[in-house]
Symmetry: C2
Subunit: 164 residues, 2 copies
Amino acid sequence: MSPTFERRALLDELAHKGVRLTAQRRAVIEVIQEARDHLDAGSLLELARKREPNIDRATVYRTIELLKKLRLIDELDLMHLQGEKHYYEVKTKRDHVHLACFCCGRIEEFSSPLFERLKAEIAREAGFEIRVTRLEVGGACRACAAGAKSHEREDVKTATALSQ
Amino acid sequence: MSPTFERRALLDELAHKGVRLTAQRRAVIEVIQEARDHLDAGSLLELARKREPNIDRATVYRTIELLKKLRLIDELDLMHLQGEKHYYEVKTKRDHVHLACFCCGRIEEFSSPLFERLKAEIAREAGFEIRVTRLEVGGACRACAAGAKSHEREDVKTATALSQ
DNA sequence: CCGTAGTCGCGACTCAGTCGCAAATAATGA
DNA sequence: TCATTATTTGCGACTGAGTCGCGACTACGG
């Protein structure tokens, strides 16, 4: 599925749902879709301004809100690795886990049939009608875990120095 | 496991790790442990003040930070149902899912061997050393899902009216 | 009971996100 | 094509969670 196709699909879907397509919304949507990594509202604004120079912060937030409500994007916290911002990504067919490395800050994605089974179990056993799921895992990625083998003390000094 | 036992265990653990036990920290810790539901920093402050009237906001935040770093509590977002606050709970042996109902606002907990298997799979296949996990699910609880059977249209008006 | 490293309270600050309102505009139908 | 109108936008002021620096205070090992 090419980015161009995705973009049209999303814009068409919005039009079809009766959403007014303004230049500002188009800019934000295109930026989200073409993004290679997870963007927060700030970077979203910055990038959208390259297309629509006068777009305002409030409009970006309002568009994010709209896309969330239409379930076209997911909101992530990414374990609050860098402050309290939120990050956004276009909703994919299959939910995935976000692995956040406290050490190097990289975000990895991981998906598994087990996750799907767990969701099905929740829906069945708790009678819960799932609309969104957010599974975030924090720790050390393969590279960082390998490198940190030596200094693994558990006292306060070490704990205080760690990011979480 | 009685609350009293838990409280002593946690305070002892802190002392053992070389953490200075001040009256303020004791107050915050006791409040977290005796809490029946998930508390945000604000309510934590309010409740801690009943024990230690002059405790400051900053101290509560610093204590939360400390307990997080020592991995004695978990931080939750609860799908940001009511603003951007964070909620806290004493870390339990077994991780559990938090089900947040967008409709009535209730939080349900759910734990399952499948979740444990999923975590094991992540650790094994991604080589990720898991320190914390946070699985939050948003949607409609059994009661709300049953009640909402009638008005299930999918257009913008409805979507905009929904909380997410 | 002293000394001191660690902690606290305070007040000012940051920063993400929200809101109300007047001006601008996308979509509709004549 | 253009007038109408309900929506959306930009702006600026605001909110509310969380952070920080600093001088005063204090837990705890000696």
